[in-house]
Point group: C2
Chain length 283, copies 2
């Protein structure tokens, strides 16, 4: 396994330092809210993926920073705005930004993070192509979020489409930015791998949150499958099978990526596969 921490040129510590420099070096209440949000933790999955993809392709530390930071900052912008849109009061065991600082500050905090994400593309060697990939990713993420906010009774297919739209683009983006930086293309395979992994990711969330989602009326693929007449146990296993098929599709796209650029995807897919199998056996 690629160990980011031990790599000489750039590490997660550099990521945290760069977020601090770009986002809250100029003090304001919005910068404070952004700092509060990041200090609550988070796995930095997209930053790790960007570092691994870029360094794995032999790119410089500065380029790796851009590939890591842009998707990570966008992801956190989406969390801040999504929590406000969904009325979620908690994030990472702490009040969400809007719950802590109010709705107006939360709007501005998300805006600042979107802007900071784009700012990091100043370190990318092919900024024009990177900017286009960023905007496509954001436009698709927004389409998914808008559909999720407005949909009533969703079919299992609706769920997968929304999950792929909402979470796929920002999972694909770290790898896309690294591929663009290395002049390797294969944008479509990275996007398709991201979308397929996002479906499995969301399914696992839905399996774990089924009871809560039923209580609060949140869309959930298990509940959608149950609505077709399946029992909860059969629906859960069906959801696991669909997610497994999605991971198989992801692997086909990952395999088509050049020079091992798909390694960060493969790690995610393997982890999700194990978790889904554990859940399936326990059901």
């Amino acid at each position: 396994m690629f160990d980011i921490q031990s790599h000489q040129s750039v590490s997660l510590t550099d990521i945290e330092a760069e977020i601090a420099r770009v986002v809250w070096s100029d003090p304001s209440i919005v910068a404070e809210a952004a700092k509060y949000h990041f200090s609550a933790g988070g796995a930095r999955t997209r930053a790790r993926m960007g570092l691994e993809a870029a360094l794995g392709l032999g790119l410089s530390g500065q380029i790796a920073l851009a590939c890591a930071l842009a998707p990570e900052l966008l992801h956190n912008a989406s969390l801040v705005h999504d929590d406000l849109q969904d009325g979620d009061k908690m994030r990472r065991q702490k009040p969400s930004v809007w719950a802590q600082y109010g709705k107006n500050i939360a709007i501005s905090t998300g805006d600042l993070l979107i802007s900071a994400a784009y700012r990091t593309i100043a370190m990318h060697p092919h900024p024009a192509a990177a900017l286009c990939a960023m905007h496509d990713a954001i436009a698709t993420t927004i389409r998914g979020q808008a559909r999720d906010c407005s949909i009533g009774l969703a079919t299992p297919e609706d769920h997968e489409f929304i999950a792929a739209d909402k979470s796929g683009p920002l999972l694909a983006l770290p790898v896309q930015l690294a591929l663009i930086a290395a002049g390797l293309g294969h944008d479509d395979d990275a996007i398709c791998a991201g979308r397929a992994i996002a479906i499995a990711y969301q399914t696992l969330d839905d399996l774990l949150d089924r009871a809560d989602d039923q209580t609060y009326g949140v869309t959930n693929i298990c509940l959608s499958l149950e609505a077709t007449g399946l029992s909860p146990g059969v629906a859960a296993r069906a959801a696991c099978e669909r997610a497994g098929a999605s991971l198989d599709a992801a692997r086909r796209h990952i395999g088509a990526l050049p020079r091992g650029a798909g390694a960060p995807f493969l790690k995610l897919a393997t982890r999700l596969d194990i978790q889904l199998k554990e859940f399936s056996h326990a059901t």
Copy 2:
């Protein structure tokens, strides 16, 4: 006077077409809300400034598009989010985006417009410097909006600082982007000119809206001057004088800009000067 419409290489029609292409070519409810917002009109002041500055410096039509579009899209993103934050239900004689489409769609619409603004920098010849200027402008705008939302009784100096922060950066940005594209620098003069013009711009608004702002408890420089013991008439004239001094400062910075790049600022400053003098004589 520079006539944008008659210039061969690029015009306001191209701006509108490019906004449509980048923002709502992929249909969604958010794209529809963005289209609704732009269809309500607007002076396209920042787009005109970007075209004039870039074409005046002999830059290509494509570069002029970037200098025009990025600030115009950011300005409209800020209008969509500001209306939501300030609870303003009307914009350009129509319901504002949040009033028409709901708060969640308004948040996503502003996000899409920020992203689209950055996307246009793909057409800029020095994207790294342009991205840094964009982020600085947005961070300062956000600081101003946050201060405006939170301040209680503002002094006249607070007003000017907030106006300069909120509106200055996006008035300066079209000229900054053109200067960066032409490799001419002078960032500080453009920023200072934008800030000084923003103060006069806001003062004129405050003079026109004094009665409404008093009714609805909105901060207004006339009311702040009255709070120091001046009568409404004397306060209005004092506000005009302060704005006039700010325009004088703007002209000093405009004069320092190379190769006539300050022309769009000068046009704005001259128009504001006339309007302030008309107001002052009528008081």
